[in-house]
C-alpha cells in the first residue's frame, strides 16, 4: 500500500479529507511563516529584547496585547467545558472538542510568547519559588501554567481516540477513563481559568498610579478583574464559532449544525450583554470618579489617531452594542449577522486588551512629560505570526486525523 493510501487509514471513520499533497503544501506554507517567527525568536533570545520595538516607556506592547487577546478568545474552552460537563448542556458535545483544541492552542501559544517577553526566561520558575502573593501576576503565572496542564489532560483523550491509536486496547481504555473523569477537569479548568482571566484584568486595575487603568473594586479585586472574566466568557464562544465557520469554509464540509453555532453565539451574546451593562457602569465611574481624583479628565486620555477616541467608540459601541443586537435577536438566524456579531465581539475584546496594555502606558501621567507612540517591530510581529501559524498547524493536524466533530459524518452524507 502506498503512503498516500495508508495515510487515509488515519482519518476519522467515514470522513473525507483533501489529498496528502495539498495538505503538505498547506503545512509547508504554515511552516515557512512559523519558521520566520522562529528565526525572530532566536534573534530575541540571542541578542536580547533590544531587537524589539519595546522601550522603557512601553514595557508592555504587542506581545502582552497578543497574549491577553488570545487568552480571552481561548476562554471558550473553559466556559464551554463548564456548560457541557457541569451545567450539562448536552448539545455542546458537538463543539466541545474544538473548544478544547482552541484553548490548548491559545494557552500554549501565550506561554510561548510569555517566555519570549520576560527578560530572563530561565528564571520563569521563580514565580513558584519566590511568589509574591500580593501580585496579580503571580496568580496569572500559577493559573495559566496549571490550566495549560488541564488543557493537555483534556486534549490527550482526543488524540488517543485517533482511529489507529485507539486500536491499542490500553490506550483505548485510557481514553475512556479520561473521559469519565473529564467533568472533574472541566471544573478545575473553570476555576483556574476564571481566576487568571480575572487576574489579568486585576493586573491593570491595581496600577493605582496609572489613571487610565486603575479601578476601584470589591475587596482585593478591582472591577477590571470581573470585567475581564465577563468579556472573556462572552467572546470565547464567539471565537469558537468563528473558527468552526472558517474551517467549514476552508474544507468545504459541514462540521456542526447551524443550531449549535447559533446556541454558542446566543450564550456569548448573553454574556456580552451582561458585560456591556457592567462595562458601561465601570466607564461611567472611571470618568466621574477615578479620573477626577487623579486630577485628570476624560479628554486627556486620548491623543492623535493611534490613541484616538475612535478606539473608545469602537470598543464600547460598535463592538458591544451592535454584536449584542446581532447575537441576541432573531437576526442571529442569518449567518451574515451571526458571524458579523461574533467578529465584532472578538474585535472589541482585542481593542480592550490593546488599550489597557498600550494606551494606559502612553498617557503622560507626569504633567511635564508627553505622549509617546509605540510601534511594534518585525521581531514582535514575526513571533506573533509564528504562534498563529503554530495554531493553524495544530488545528489542521487535529482536523485531519482526530474525530473532532461528532456530526461531521452525518452532515456530509451524499
Amino acid at each position: 500500500m502506498s503512503i498516500i493510501e495508508s495515510e487515509k487509514n488515519w482519518y476519522p471513520e467515514g470522513v473525507e479529507r483533501c489529498s496528502l499533497g495539498k495538505f503538505l503544501k498547506w503545512l509547508a506554507f504554515l511552516g515557512i511563516v512559523a519558521g520566520y517567527g522562529f528565526v525572530a525568536m532566536i534573534v530575541c533570545f540571542v541578542y536580547g529584547l533590544g531587537v524589539t520595538g519595546l522601550d522603557n516607556y512601553f514595557g508592555f506592547g504587542l506581545w502582552i496585547t497578543f497574549d491577553l487577546a488570545v487568552i480571552a478568545l481561548g476562554a471558550g474552552a473553559f466556559f464551554t467545558g463548564l456548560l457541557r460537563y457541569i451545567i450539562r448542556i448536552d448539545e455542546l458535545k458537538n463543539i466541545i472538542n474544538l473548544t478544547v483544541i482552541k484553548g490548548f492552542i491559545c494557552y500554549s501559544g501565550a506561554m510561548l510568547i510569555l517566555s519570549l517577553d520576560v527578560g530572563q526566561p530561565i528564571r520563569s520558575w521563580f514565580g513558584y519559588w519566590h511568589p509574591n502573593v500580593h501580585s496579580m501576576l503571580t496568580e496569572v503565572i500559577f493559573c495559566i501554567t496549571c490550566y495549560l496542564l488541564v488543557l493537555i489532560i483534556e486534549y490527550v483523550p482526543l488524540i488517543l481516540e485517533q482511529k489507529q491509536i485507539n486500536k491499542i486496547p490500553y490506550l483505548h481504555n485510557l481514553a475512556h477513563q479520561m473521559h469519565v473523569v473529564m467533568p472533574l477537569f472541566a471544573g478545575i479548568g473553570a476555576f483556574l481559568s476564571t481566576f487568571h482571566q480575572g487576574s489579568l484584568g486585576g493586573m491593570y486595575g491595581v496600577m493605582f498610579a496609572r489613571p487610565y487603568a486603575f479601578r476601584d473594586g470589591f475587596f482585593i479585586w478591582p472591577w477590571t478583574f470581573f470585567l475581564f472574566v465577563l468579556s472573556a466568557i462572552a467572546t470565547g464562544p464567539c471565537m469558537t464559532v468563528l473558527i468552526c465557520g472558517f474551517m467549514e469554509k476552508v474544507t468545504g464540509r459541514k462540521l456542526t449544525t447551524y443550531r449549535i453555532k447559533s446556541l454558542m453565539c446566543k450564550i456569548g451574546g448573553t454574556m456580552l450583554l451582561i458585560y456591556t451593562v457592567f462595562k458601561y457602569l465601570d466607564t461611567w465611574a472611571w470618568i466621574n470618579n477615578v479620573l477626577p481624583r487623579a486630577g485628570m479628565t476624560f479628554d486627556q486620555m486620548f491623543y492623535g489617531l493611534v490613541y484616538g477616541r475612535w478606539l473608545f467608540v469602537c470598543e464600547l459601541v460598535l463592538c458591544l452594542l451592535v454584536p449584542v443586537v446581532f447575537l441576541l435577536t432573531p437576526l442571529r438566524k442569518k449567518p451574515v449577522f451571526m458571524y458579523s456579531g461574533a467578529i465584532l465581539a472578538c474585535a472589541g475584546v482585542v481593542i480592550n486588551r490593546y488599550v489597557f496594555t498600550v494606551q494606559a502606558l502612553a498617557i503622560p501621567v507626569l504633567p511635564f512629560t508627553k505622549w509617546e507612540i509605540y510601534t511594534p517591530n518585525w521581531a514582535e510581529w514575526a513571533t506573533s505570526l509564528m504562534v498563529i501559524a503554530y495554531g493553524f498547524i495544530i488545528m489542521s493536524l487535529s482536523y485531519r486525523y482526530l474525530p473532532i466533530f461528532p456530526q461531521e459524518v452525518g452532515l456530509n452524507k451524499k
Binding site: D55, N56, R123, H130, L137, A209, R293, G295, P367
Partner: protein, 252 residues
C-alpha cells in the same frame, strides 16, 4: 486596592531645590559612574537609554519676555506606597528595610517589566542588551555596586552601598549606626551637585537639614494625589513649577 503605606523609624529622603538647579547634569553623570550603569551606546533614544537620575526640562509655555524654564532632577521617588512593589510577581523589588529605600534584587528579577508599567515616574529601566564596557572603560567599574545582566529591571537605590559604608564607619568610630550625623550618608548625585540644589538625609531626624526643608511652604512632591507618598521632595518658589508637580482639574 492601592496598597499600604509603610513607615520606618529612619526614612531616607531627598529634597531638590528646583530653583537652584542649573540643569548641568552632574547628578546624572555621577550616578551613572557610581552605579556601574553601562556606557550608553545610543543615548539619543531617551526611551531606551538608562539614566537612574534624569533631569527634565520644564517650561511655563509662555513666550518672551514671560518665558521661564526650570530643571527637575528625578531619581527614584522611593514611594512610601510604591506602585511597583506589590505588583512584582517574584518579590524582586521590596520596601521592607529601615530607611524606606525601595530595593531591586537583580538576581531574582525575571524581567517581566510589570513594575516598569506600574511606575508613573519612569524611574525603572530595563536591560535591553547585554551591558558592554568598551575596551579600557571597564577600569571605571566600581566594586561597590553590582553590574546587571540584560533582561532585568534596574533603578536608583539612593546609593544604598554608601549607607552600608556610612554605618560601618560609624561603628568603627564608636557611633550609633542607626543615628548617623547629617551628611554621613549622602548619595553621589547630592555629593556632586555643584549648585547645592540637592539635599539628602533622614526625613524623620530633627538633626538632619532635610527634616526642616520639607516643612517649607514651597515644598511639594510629584503626583501626590495618586497616593504614592514619595520620599523625594521638591522646592520651588515659582508657582507654575509647583503646579507642574501634579495634575489638576480646571476647577482646582
Amino acid at each position: 486596592m492601592s496598597g499600604q503605606k509603610m513607615e520606618f523609624p529612619i526614612t531616607w529622603g531627598m529634597v531638590i531645590d528646583i530653583d537652584k538647579c542649573t540643569g548641568c547634569g552632574a547628578c546624572m553623570a555621577s550616578c551613572q559612574t557610581e552605579n556601574n550603569v553601562e556606557p550608553q551606546r545610543e543615548a539619543s533614544n531617551k526611551l531606551r537609554s538608562t539614566s537612574w537620575m534624569t533631569v527634565y526640562e520644564l517650561t511655563n509655555g509662555k513666550s518672551f519676555p514671560d518665558h521661564d524654564i526650570a530643571y527637575l532632577p528625578r531619581p527614584c521617588q522611593q514611594c512610601g506606597n510604591p506602585p511597583c512593589v506589590s505588583v512584582c510577581p517574584v518579590i524582586a523589588t521590596e520596601k521592607n528595610e529601615n530607611g524606606g529605600i525601595v530595593s531591586q534584587v537583580y538576581p531574582r528579577c525575571i524581567g517581566c517589566r510589570y513594575c516598569v508599567a506600574a511606575c508613573p515616574y519612569h524611574v525603572r529601566y530595563f536591560g535591553w542588551f547585554d551591558p558592554v564596557w568598551p575596551e579600557g572603560m571597564q577600569k571605571t567599574l566600581s566594586p561597590l555596586t553590582s553590574v546587571r545582566p540584560r533582561g532585568v529591571v534596574e533603578k536608583c537605590t539612593f546609593c544604598h552601598h554608601r549607607w552600608t559604608l556610612a554605618k560601618d564607619a560609624a561603628r568603627a568610630n564608636g557611633k550609633d549606626p542607626d543615628n548617623l550625623d547629617d551628611g554621613a550618608y549622602v548619595t553621589t548625585c547630592v555629593q556632586n551637585c555643584p549648585s547645592g540644589a540637592l539635599a539628602f538625609g533622614d526625613l524623620k531626624n530633627p538633626k538632619h537639614k532635610v527634616h526642616e526643608l520639607i516643612k517649607s511652604p514651597y515644598a511639594y512632591r510629584l503626583l501626590e494625589r495618586l497616593g504614592t507618598d514619595t520620599q523625594v521632595y521638591y522646592i520651588s518658589r515659582r508657582e507654575w513649577v509647583r503646579k507642574l508637580g501634579d495634575n489638576y482639574l480646571k476647577s482646582e
